[in-house]
Amino acid sequence: MNQPLHHPTRVVNRGDRLFRGILRLFGLVVLAIALLILVELWEVARPSVERFGLRFLIETQWDPVREQFGALPFVYGTLVSSLIAILLAVPLGLGVAFFLSEMAPRWLREPVSFLVELLAAIPSVVYGLWGLFVLVPIIRSLELAILRTGLSRVPLFSGAPYGIGMLSAGVVLAIMIVPTVAAVSREVFRAVPDSQREAALALGATRWEAMKVVFDYGRPGIVGAVVLAWGRALGETMAVNMVIGNQPIISASLFSPAHTMASVIASEFNEAVEPMHVAALAEIGLALLGLTLLLSALARLLVLRVERRSRGRQAAQGVTSP
């Protein structure tokens, strides 16, 4: 007779049940917080959403006194400054990661990795101060030098040499996200099996050529690292606020003062008294949230792709395992 077996997992003792309940509560709290943020932002932003509609994102005039609210300069500033940061930080971060995982002698590896990770722990306002006192003067003299060469006729380098502006913001952001790029891609490189490196070397590849194999193997993970770093650059507020010049200007010039979505919220929210001004700032917050979500969705998609591929790889190794 096939009597159903006694199923021990069905008997739950009281402590377990309590524990489970508490954990469930914690999980729900996180969900509730996220939802509340969204609802609250939406509520505050509603007058602006209703009044401006989608035009809000393409208007270029931002004049709180005349109640003209167009967010495009901020969207532009956020995208361009983070793009500059990515362009500078990705090669540097990948180089650091590659050095640490492939070339550095063992005694150097741990301390340098630790220092790189330490960079990520420096408060953003400190980066801002450093940017203001050290980087901005450097950028200013660079701008002056370019002005003298006559290159300033090129739109990219035109404008007055303020020092503060898009380029300074991009460079500060780049320094802030290098640790993310470096730390994540170092893990990616380390996950590449040694057999791949040896296979390349045994074919007569030099270190440089073997690196291509390592890089290829880890490519999806590296894309993930870039997206993660980009997300950080999009939302960074304090340091950018201190060096970007805080002007809602869309200019082709790298030297022009600009503004970002995060930094306009930080700098105007305290002084915003008109309800429409507050609503417009909240809508910028909403748009920033949307942009970040979009990017995380992209990252998630890429991670899924990596997982699917590594599953394929495991399946292939399953065939060959003894």
């Binding site: 063992r106 057999s195 791949q196 040896e198 296979a199 390349a200 070397l201 045994a202 074919l203 007569g204 590849a205 030099t206 050529e209 073997a210 291509k212 194999v213 290829d216 193997y217 490519r219 591929r309 394929g312 790889r313 399946a315 292939a316 190794q317 065939v319 060959t320 395992s321 003894p322």
Partner: protein, 251 residues
Amino acid sequence: MAVPIRVEHLNAAFGPFQALHDVTLTLPARQVTAIIGPSGCGKSTFVRCINRMHEETPGGRVWGQIYLGDEPVYGPDVDPVVIRRRVGMVFQRPTPFPTMSILENVVAGYTLLPGRPRDLESLAERSLRQAGLWDEVKDRLRDSPLNLSGGQQQRLCIARALAVEPEVILLDEPCSSLDPISTAKVEETIMELAQRYTVVLVTHNIQQATRVSQHTAFFLLGRLIEFGPTEQLFTNPANEQTEAYITGRFG
């Protein structure tokens, strides 16, 4: 052109641990030489010295000398990259490059390096034929190598090593992760290779050594114990330890 490999007083170490002690022997050209011995006897280290892969291991050191034909493998003006082009290697586990197609894998030795030959496709075909894999993959050259069986992957790695036209092929326990049928196919391939290359086969499988090799070297605890024609070594070993190993008393 296949060349004999002359090994003279070869020593190798990992940091303080010496893995090979004063090995001297000559591996003849156009033959399969099997390297046998229990785990940890230094047989893998020995072949990794021939293509200078041992020094890529952290702490790996080598002293003594090896000659490919008349040319030294070790020396201040010898480029290990050049040696590795002349001495191909196949590892214990198949190591296809997962992001490349089957075709790209075969010619990886060229695409990774500057100066590619004119006709990669016919080069790939020739190499795959030599490795005995052509008929099985000719219709799926653009597929991922991960869809191949383990034995096919291993023969793909052999083809990849052959594509750069080496003189010597080192096989480090190439069948240890394969099933018997795949093993038989790879062994067939190895015997074919011996017509054109100097083949060195590390194996922990004594039957395999008797099946495919003409010469056998027996290593124990980092020393070369006995080296001779395979038939003689297995039927009439000169050394007691060799006899103990091949009759299964240890290892």
